[in-house]
C-alpha cells in the first residue's frame, strides 16, 4: 500500500510540475505569427491530404477541429487558427 501512495504522490507531483513548466514555455514570434492557412498546410498534410475550406459546414469544422486535436495532439492555438481559416474562407 505504501508503495502505491509514494508512486501516486510522485506521479501527481511530477505531473503538476510538468504543467507549471509547460505553461511557462513560450513559442517564438515566428511561430506566433503563423496564419491559419500556414498551420492548415503544415499540420493536416503531415498525415493526410488536407481538406479544402469548402468541404464542410462551419458547425462541422468545429467538430472536426476538436476530433483532430484529440486524435493528433495539435495545440489549442493550432486548432483555433486552422478552424477559423476553414470556416471563414469556405462559408
Amino acid at each position: 500500500m505504501k508503495k502505491y501512495i509514494i508512486a501516486s504522490s510522485a506521479l501527481l507531483l511530477a505531473f503538476s510540475t510538468s504543467m507549471v513548466v509547460i505553461s511557462s514555455c513560450a513559442v517564438s514570434q515566428k511561430v506566433q505569427n503563423k496564419t491559419g492557412t500556414q498551420l492548415w498546410g503544415e499540420n493536416c498534410g503531415r498525415c493526410h491530404n488536407a481538406p479544402g475550406p469548402g468541404e464542410f459546414s462551419a458547425a462541422n469544422w468545429d467538430i472536426i477541429g476538436r476530433h483532430m486535436r484529440v486524435r493528433t495532439n495539435i495545440t489549442e492555438t493550432e486548432e483555433k487558427k486552422i478552424i477559423d481559416y476553414l470556416k471563414t474562407t469556405g462559408n
Binding site: 501512495i5 513560450a26 503544415e42 498525415c47 495545440t75
Partner: protein
C-alpha cells in the same frame, strides 16, 4: 492513515479540476450565448472500403468494411468520439467497436479521456493505418492482427500538445486493462491485447511522447512505451509474468520543387520483452523460450501534386518494406517474416482513392490487391 492520505490526494485533484471547470465555464458562457449554431454539435464521418485480392491460388472480391465515426462536441469542454466497424473479412458479417472515447478538455495543455480508445503505443495503429492514410490495402507485417501491440485499449488517459520556441511536443499517458497472456499450447506466450475486461488486478501503464523539431512541423519523432507487471490470469502460475514494450516512430512530409511533388517518409519500430515462463505443449511436456519479438516498417510515397495535368496530379506512388522477427522456439514462431509492397494509387478526392498494390512476402505467394476507399 493511508486511506485518509489517499482521500486527501483525490480531493485535492478534484478541487483543481473543479476550479478549472468553473473558471473556464465563466469564460465560455459569454462566448456560447451569442453562438447561433448552438453548443451541442453532432456529425457522422467515416470510411467505406472494399478489397480485391488475387494470387496463384485465389481470385476474389474480399473484405468489405464500413466504419462510420460518430462525433459529438457536447460543449467546449466535453467531446465524445465513437466508431463501430462492420466488416466481412472472415466470411460473415462481424460488428465491432473500434472506439468509444469520452474526452474532457481541462485546459490548453491537458485533455483527460476515458473509454475504449485507439492505441497510443506507436503511431501506425492509432493514426497511420487508417484506410485513407495508409497508401496500401494491407498492414505491414507485424503491425496487423497477430503483430505486436493493441488495436484498442480500455482505460483512462491524459494527453496534450504544446509549443516552446520553434519546436513542439505532444504527450499521451494512459492506464488500461492491457494485454492478457495466452498459455494454451498453440498460443503460449502470445497476448490477447484488446483487454475488454481485465484478468487480474494489474493494469498496463503506457505513453507516447512526440517531438516536432522543425518550425514547419514537417517532421515528427515519437517514443512510446507500455509496461504491465501482471499479464497472466489471477491465481494462475502465470499471473506475475510481466510484459514491457517500446516503440519509435517517424513521420516526415516535404516537397521536392524540381519534381513538383510532395513526398512522405514514415516508419516505426516496435519491441516487446516478456518475462521468462514455462509453458506446456499438447502432450504436457514443459518448454520455455526467449520471448522478445520485434518488428519494423519503412515506407515512402511521392505524389506530383503540383503538376497541372489532373490525371498525373492525382497519382501517387508508394513503396513499403516490413520485417517481423518472431521467437524461433515459440509454437507460433518460426522464421522471420519479410514483406515488400509497391502501390500505385489514384486519388478521387482528398479522402477517397483507388489503390493497386503488388506484394511479396516470404513463404507466401506473391499477391495483387486492389482497394477502393471512400471517405465521407
Amino acid at each position: 492513515m493511508n486511506k485518509i492520505f489517499l482521500s486527501l490526494l483525490l480531493l485535492l485533484s478534484c478541487n483543481i479540476l473543479q476550479a478549472q471547470i468553473v473558471s473556464d465555464n465563466n469564460q465560455s458562457n459569454a462566448a456560447t450565448v451569442s453562438s447561433k449554431d448552438g453548443q451541442n454539435k453532432f456529425a457522422i464521418f467515416g470510411n467505406a472500403e472494399m478489397t480485391f485480392f488475387a494470387d496463384k491460388n485465389n481470385v476474389q472480391f474480399g473484405e468489405v468494411n464500413f466504419k462510420p465515426i460518430f462525433l459529438w462536441r457536447i460543449s467546449d469542454k466535453l467531446f465524445v468520439e465513437a466508431e463501430p466497424e462492420f466488416e466481412t473479412g472472415e466470411g460473415s458479417l462481424d460488428i465491432g467497436l473500434e472506439y468509444a472515447n469520452m474526452c474532457f478538455i481541462v485546459n490548453r495543455y491537458l485533455i483527460l479521456h476515458a473509454g475504449r480508445f485507439l492505441p497510443k503505443f506507436g503511431a501506425y495503429r492509432g493514426r497511420m493505418g487508417e484506410g485513407f492514410i495508409n497508401r496500401f490495402p494491407t498492414d505491414p507485417v507485424g503491425f496487423g492482427d497477430g503483430g505486436i501491440g493493441a488495436m484498442n485499449e480500455v482505460g483512462i488517459g491524459a494527453q496534450g500538445g504544446f509549443g516552446t520556441g520553434d519546436v513542439k511536443f505532444n504527450y499521451d499517458l494512459y492506464l488500461s486493462n492491457g494485454p492478457i497472456l495466452l498459455t494454451d499450447p498453440e498460443n503460449a506466450g502470445q497476448f490477447e491485447y484488446e483487454g475488454y475486461v481485465g484478468n487480474n488486478k494489474g493494469k498496463a501503464v503506457g505513453g507516447r511522447v512526440g517531438f516536432l523539431p522543425l518550425t514547419n512541423s514537417s517532421l515528427e519523432i515519437g517514443y512510446s512505451f507500455q509496461s504491465k507487471m501482471k499479464t497472466g490470469d489471477a491465481g494462475s502460475p502465470y499471473e506475475n509474468v510481466g510484459l514491457h514494450m517500446q516503440a519509435i516512430d517517424l513521420n516526415y512530409f516535404g516537397h521536392i520543387t524540381p519534381m513538383q511533388s510532395d513526398v512522405r517518409l514514415i516508419g516505426e519500430w516496435k519491441y516487446q520483452k516478456v518475462d521468462k515462463a514455462t509453458y506446456f505443449d499438447a502432450s504436457g511436456t514443459p518448454f520455455t523460450f526467449d520471448n522478445s519479438p520485434s518488428t519494423y516498417y519503412v515506407a515512402g510515397t511521392i505524389r506530383p501534386v503540383h503538376v497541372h495535368n489532373l490525371f498525373i496530379h492525382n497519382l501517387e506512388l508508394a513503396a513499403r518494406y516490413s520485417r517481423f522477427k518472431r521467437p524461433l522456439k515459440a509454437p507460433w514462431g518460426g522464421d522471420n517474416a519479410h514483406q515488400f509492397a509497391v502501390a500505385l494509387d489514384y486519388w478521387l478526392k482528398w479522402n477517397s482513392l483507388v489503390k493497386l498494390t503488388y506484394q511479396t512476402q516470404k513463404d507466401e505467394p506473391d499477391a495483387f490487391y486492389a482497394q477502393v476507399v471512400f471517405g465521407f
